[in-house]
C-alpha cells in the first residue's frame, strides 16, 4: 500500500503496440496485475485496496467504472462490491473512475470470437481467453455489448472481499484480536465484545498493512443484496431533477457552442458566410471546424440561433445520395467476392432446395437512429498541457486517444470526468462530437467550451444502425422445416465504427448476421451466409447491433416456413432447438401466454426467439386488428441471463427493451435523400409512446451457465414477434421494417 505509480503504463503501451503490430505476447504481460489508478494522489491516512475501493477517514468510495446510460449499472456494480465488503446502500459514495487499464472489460472478448455464445467447448473457451488477453493489453475499458455484469460479477465481489479482509487485518493489529474472531457488517469491523470499528477509522492503519490477496467468495445463500430487489442509488436524483447529466455541467468561465457540420456525412464544407451570425446578440465568434462551423455564444439558445444563421454550401456525400442506391448496393453484394463468412453449412442445402418446391422471401431492415433523449454534448477545456473533458461516454481510454489526436497532446494529458448519460443506445460510443468540441476549445485555449447538439444536428450526425437485406429460401415436408438457406447482406458496422476511431479490425464481422447465425436450431439442411456490402452511410452499434435486423430476417422466415408446413410456430421452433436454456425460455413464453388458446376474432399471437449477447430470449406478442389499425395488447417475454442481480431493474430493462424493439419496428427508419438523413427530429422517428405501450409480462430464468447482461437481448425478438402476430391476426406478412409503412397502428 502507498506504492507509487510505477512504469506499468509504459509497459502496457509497449504491450498494446506489440499486439497492434501482430507480435505474439507472453503470458507475463497478460497476467501481471494492472496498476491501481486510485493510488494517484492518495491522501495520507487514506487506503485503497484495489481500483474499486477507496476509504479515508471521512468516507468510503466505491468506483463503478462501467458508464451508466440508464441501465442502472452504477448501482449494480456498487452492490457487487458492497455484498462482500459488508456495507449498505447509503453508507458509501460512488464514482465512475478515471480512464485506466485497471478497468479493462474482460467480457468484451465473449462477443469477439466466432463461436456461438452457447458453445462452451474447449476451442471456443480457449479463443475467448486469448481475446481476453488482447483486450486487456489494449486497455479496452468500455461499456457495451451487455457485458457489464459478466465483466463485474466475480471481479467486483473479489474487490469487496479483499478490502474487507484487509480491513479486518488492520483492525486485528489495532485491537490485538485475531482476525478470525472479527466480523464485519454495516461498514464496520466488529470485535467479539460488540465494539464497532468503522472502516473509515481503520483507513490509516489499513494503508500500512500488507493487503490480503487470497479470499474466497461467499456462497449465494449468504448474499444480502445480490438477487434481491434493490433501490437504485440514482433513483432519488432522477426523480427530483437534481442529478446532473453531461448537458447540465457548468464550468467557471464556460461559453456555449453549437455546430453545423455537413449533413452529407463525411462531405466537405465548400464555403460559408457568418456575417449575420457574428452580429447576433451574445455571439462572440463563429469558427470553422472539420466539415462545418461552430457558433460561440453566452447561452445555448443563442448559439443554436447563430449557427442556424450561417449560410453554408455543402459538398457531396461520399455515399449514394438516395436511399434506393443503398438498397441497390446491398442487392449487388450477394456474390462470392462479398462473402464475409459462411456461418453454417449443414447437410446438403443445394440438393434439398432442388428436390421440392421452394419457399422464397426477401426482407429489409432499415437504418435506424439512436436518438437518446439527451442530445450529444461535451464540455472541453484545452490548455497547453492538459485537455479536460466532461461528458457521458462509454469508452474512456479510447476517448483519451481520440481527443488527444485532435491537438497533438498525449493521451495521458486528457482528464476525463465521466457523467451520467441520458440514454445512449450506442450513440455515446462515438467520438466525432467530442473531436468537434476539442477543435472549438483548441481555438480558444483556456476557455471551457460546452458544445450542445441541437436535436436536428443529433439526427443529422447520428451514425445509425446499419441496413440489412435478407434473401431466404427453404423447404418444408411432412409438417416440418427441412431446409433453410439464408443470405444476409449488410455493410460492416464494426469496420465503419472502428474506422472512425482509427482502428482496423480484421476478420469476419459477426454482426452482419448476428441474431441469425448463432441460433440454436438443428435443421437437416441449413446454410447461413453473411455478405459484406461496401461501406455506405457511416453506421454504428445500435442497441443489440446486428441482431434486430438479421434476427428479424431469420426469425420471420422461420415463421413463414412454419406456416407453409402447417406447423405450430412455437412447437416447430421447440422441435428444432438444440440448447437447453433456449428451449426453456420458449417453453416459458408458451406457458405464460397460454399459447394455443383461442384469442377471438381479429386477434393474433406471434412468437419469436433470438439469442443475442449470450441471452436466449423468447417473446410472444398479442395484437388485435381493429378498425383503426393494429393494437398491441400484450407481450410475454422470457430470457435467461444466468443470474439476475436486481429483479426490479431487470424487469424495468426487459420491458424497456421490448418497448424499444417494438417502437422502432413500428415507425422508425432513417432514409437518405440528397445525401442527408430525411428524418430530423422525433416527429419523423417517433418510437413508441405511452398510449401504444402494451402490458409486458416478464419472466427471468437462471438456467444459463454464465452471467449475462440484459440491456440489449430483449430488443431483437420484439420486431419479428410483432410481425408474426400481425400475420396471425391479418394474414398479411410484413417483410420490411418499419411496419408502419404497410399497416396502421392504433
Amino acid at each position: 500500500m502507498g506504492r507509487m505509480r510505477t512504469i506499468a503504463r509504459r509497459t502496457f503501451l509497449v504491450g498494446s503496440a506489440a499486439i497492434v503490430g501482430g507480435v505474439a505476447f507472453g503470458t507475463y504481460l497478460v497476467q501481471r496485475p494492472t496498476e491501481n489508478p486510485l493510488e494517484d494522489g492518495l491522501a495520507d491516512g487514506a487506503a485503497t485496496f484495489n481500483p474499486w475501493v477507496l476509504i479515508d477517514s471521512e468516507k468510503v468510495t466505491l468506483i463503478t467504472p462501467h458508464g451508466d446510460k440508464g441501465q442502472g449499472v452504477m448501482s449494480a456494480q456498487a452492490a457487487l462490491i458492497a455484498e462482500e465488503l459488508d456495507i449498505e446502500f447509503g453508507q458509501f459514495e460512488t464514482g465512475f473512475g478515471v480512464p485506466s487499464q485497471a478497468y479493462w472489460n474482460r467480457a468484451f472478448a465473449e462477443e469477439g470470437v466466432p463461436f456461438k455464445a452457447t458453445d462452451e467447448g474447449l476451442v471456443a473457451e480457449s479463443m475467448r481467453a486469448f481475446v481476453r488477453g488482447i483486450t486487456k493489453l489494449m486497455s479496452v475499458q468500455g461499456t457495451g455489448g451487455s457485458t457489464s455484469m459478466a465483466d463485474s460479477f466475480d471481479k467486483l465481489r473479489e474487490a469487496g472481499a479483499k478490502a474487507r479482509e484487509t480491513l479486518k487485518k488492520a483492525a486485528s493489529e489495532l485491537s490485538g484480536v485475531p482476525a478470525e474472531q472479527l466480523k464485519t457488517a454495516n461498514g464496520a469491523v466488529i470485535l467479539p465484545d460488540g465494539t464497532e470499528m468503522p472502516y473509515t477509522s481503520l483507513a490509516a492503519k489499513a494503508a500500512e498493512v500488507e493487503p490480503v490477496r487470497k479470499v474466497s467468495l461467499r456462497d449465494p445463500s449468504e448474499w444480502r443484496l445480490v438477487g434481491k430487489p434493490m433501490k437504485r442509488l440514482d433513483i432519488l436524483g432522477k426523480s427530483t431533477g437534481t442529478l446532473p447529466y453531461g448537458i447540465d455541467i457548468e464550468v467557471e468561465g464556460m461559453v456555449h457552442a453549437a455546430v453545423r457540420v455537413n449533413p452529407r456525412q463525411g462531405g466537405e464544407m465548400v464555403s460559408f458566410d457568418a456575417s449575420v451570425a457574428k452580429g447576433m446578440r451574445g455571439v462572440s465568434d463563429v469558427v470553422e471546424i472539420t466539415g462545418g462551423v461552430a457558433a460561440i455564444a453566452d447561452n445555448t439558445w443563442r448559439a443554436f440561433q447563430a449557427v442556424e444563421a450561417v449560410e453554408i454550401e455543402w459538398g457531396p456525400a461520399p455515399y449514394p445520395a438516395e436511399q434506393d442506391g443503398h438498397w441497390e448496393a446491398l442487392a449487388a453484394s450477394f456474390g462470392e467476392d462479398n462473402l464475409d463468412s459462411m456461418w453454417r453449412d449443414d447437410g446438403n442445402v443445394d440438393d434439398a432446395l432442388a428436390g421440392s418446391s421452394t419457399i422464397e422471401a426477401e426482407y429489409r431492415s432499415p437504418y435506424v437512429a439512436h436518438a437518446p433523449l439527451e442530445p450529444l454534448n461535451a464540455v472541453v477545456r484545452v490548455t497547453d498541457d492538459e485537455i479536460e473533458v466532461w461528458t457521458g461516454h462509454q469508452m474512456p481510454i479510447m476517448l483519451q486517444q481520440n481527443v488527444a489526436g485532435v491537438t497533438g497532446h498525449e493521451p495521458e494529458q486528457v482528464t476525463f470526468h465521466n457523467q451520467f448519460m441520458g440514454g445512449s443506445f450506442g450513440h455515446r460510443l462515438e467520438f466525432e462530437h467530442l473531436k468537434q468540441a476539442v477543435e472549438i476549445a483548441n481555438q480558444m485555449r483556456g476557455t471551457p467550451v460546452k458544445l450542445t447538439f441541437t436535436r436536428e444536428e443529433d439526427f443529422a450526425h447520428d451514425f445509425p444502425r446499419h441496413i440489412a437485406l435478407g434473401r431466404c429460401k427453404g423447404t418444408v415436408e411432412n409438417g416440418q422445416i427441412t431446409a433453410i438457406d439464408v443470405a444476409i447482406a449488410a455493410p460492416s458496422v464494426i469496420t465503419s465504427q472502428m474506422g472512425r476511431a482509427g482502428l482496423s479490425v480484421p476478420g469476419p464481422d459477426a454482426q452482419i448476421a448476428a441474431g441469425a447465425w448463432n441460433n440454436p436450431y438443428r435443421i437437416a439442411n441449413f446454410r447461413m451466409c453473411a455478405f459484406r456490402a461496401p461501406e455506405l452511410a457511416p453506421v454504428s452499434s445500435w442497441r443489440a447491433v446486428g441482431a434486430p435486423g438479421a434476427g428479424f430476417v431469420f426469425d420471420t422466415f422461420i415463421d413463414e416456413l412454419c406456416n407453409a408446413a402447417g406447423a405450430d410456430p412455437l412447437e416447430e421452433r421447440l422441435r428444432m432447438i438444440d440448447h437447453d436454456a433456449s428451449r426453456k425460455v420458449l417453453e416459458a413464453v408458451g406457458e405464460m401466454s397460454d399459447w394455443g388458446s383461442e384469442l377471438g376474432p381479429n386477434r393474433g399471437r406471434g412468437v419469436a426467439f433470438i439469442e443475442s449477447f449470450g441471452v436466449p430470449t423468447a417473446e410472444v406478442v398479442e395484437v388485435t386488428n381493429t378498425d383503426a389499425g393494429i393494437r398491441i395488447d400484450r407481450v410475454y417475454v422470457a430470457c435467461d441471463v444466468g443470474r439476475i442481480i436486481d429483479p426490479v431493474n431487470f424487469e424495468n430493462l426487459v420491458q424497456g427493451g421490448v418497448v424499444y424493439g417494438l417502437g422502432h419496428a413500428m415507425n422508425c427508419e432513417i432514409t437518405y435523400s440528397d445525401g442527408m438523413a430525411e428524418q430530423s427530429n422525433y416527429h419523423a422517428h417517433e418510437g413508441m409512446r405511452l398510449y401504444q405501450c402494451p402490458e409486458i409480462v416478464v419472466r427471468g430464468l437462471e438456467n444459463g451457465s454464465k452471467i449475462r447482461g440484459i440491456g440489449e437481448p430483449p430488443v431483437p425478438p420484439a420486431g419479428p414477434a410483432l410481425g408474426n402476430a400481425i400475420f396471425a391476426a391479418t394474414g398479411q406478412r410484413l417483410r420490411e421494417m418499419p411496419f408502419g409503412k404497410f399497416v396502421d397502428f392504433v
Binding site: 433523449l373 440514454g423 424495468n652 418510437g687
Partner: protein, 153 residues
C-alpha cells in the same frame, strides 16, 4: 422581464423570443428541466406555468413575463418529495431518467386537474412525453400510486 420561478422573483434580460427552457437552464441555472427536441415532441422540458403543464421550449420568454413558473426543483426536493415524486421513487420508474422531470411535471399537472384519472385519461395526458428507455409500464403504475397518495393526503 420579471419571472417568478419556484416562488422566487427573477429579473432577466433576454430576447422576447428566447424559449423559457433556455431562460431556466442557462440564465437561472435550473437544469432539472431538460432539452430534448426543441419542437414540443418529447416533453422533457415540461414545467408548470400558472398551474398548467407547458412545454417550456415553446414558451417565449415574453409570454412567461409576470407568470408563476414551477419547475421540477420547485415541485419537491429530495428531502420533501411531492407525492408524484414519491411514487416515482417507490416504483423506481427511471432508467436513464432524462425524461423523468418532464414526465413528473406532466403527471403532477394531470393529477391537479383530475384526481382519479382513468387509464384512458393517463394515456391522453402522458403520451406527449417521450421515454426512449421505455419506462411506460412503470410510469402508468406510478401515476396511479400518486393519485392514491394525493387522495389520502
Amino acid at each position: 422581464m420579471r419571472l417568478t420561478v419556484n416562488g422566487k422573483e427573477h429579473e432577466v434580460d433576454v430576447e422576447d423570443d428566447m424559449p423559457l427552457l433556455w431562460v431556466l437552464r442557462d440564465e437561472l441555472g435550473l437544469t432539472g428541466t431538460k432539452y430534448g427536441c426543441g419542437i414540443a415532441q418529447c416533453g422533457a422540458c415540461t414545467v408548470h406555468m400558472d398551474g398548467f403543464a407547458v412545454r417550456s421550449c415553446q414558451v417565449p420568454a415574453a409570454s412567461a413575463d409576470g407568470t408563476e413558473v414551477v419547475t421540477i426543483e420547485g415541485l419537491g426536493t429530495p428531502e420533501t418529495l411531492h407525492a408524484v415524486q414519491e411514487a416515482w421513487v417507490e416504483h423506481q420508474v427511471a432508467q436513464c431518467g432524462y425524461c423523468q422531470s418532464g414526465q413528473i411535471m406532466q403527471a403532477a399537472s394531470l393529477l391537479s386537474l383530475n384526481a382519479e384519472p382513468t387509464d384512458d385519461d393517463i394515456d391522453v395526458a402522458m403520451s406527449g412525453n417521450l421515454c426512449r428507455c421505455g419506462t411506460y409500464p412503470r410510469i402508468r403504475a406510478a401515476v396511479k400510486t400518486a393519485a392514491q397518495k394525493l387522495q389520502e393526503a
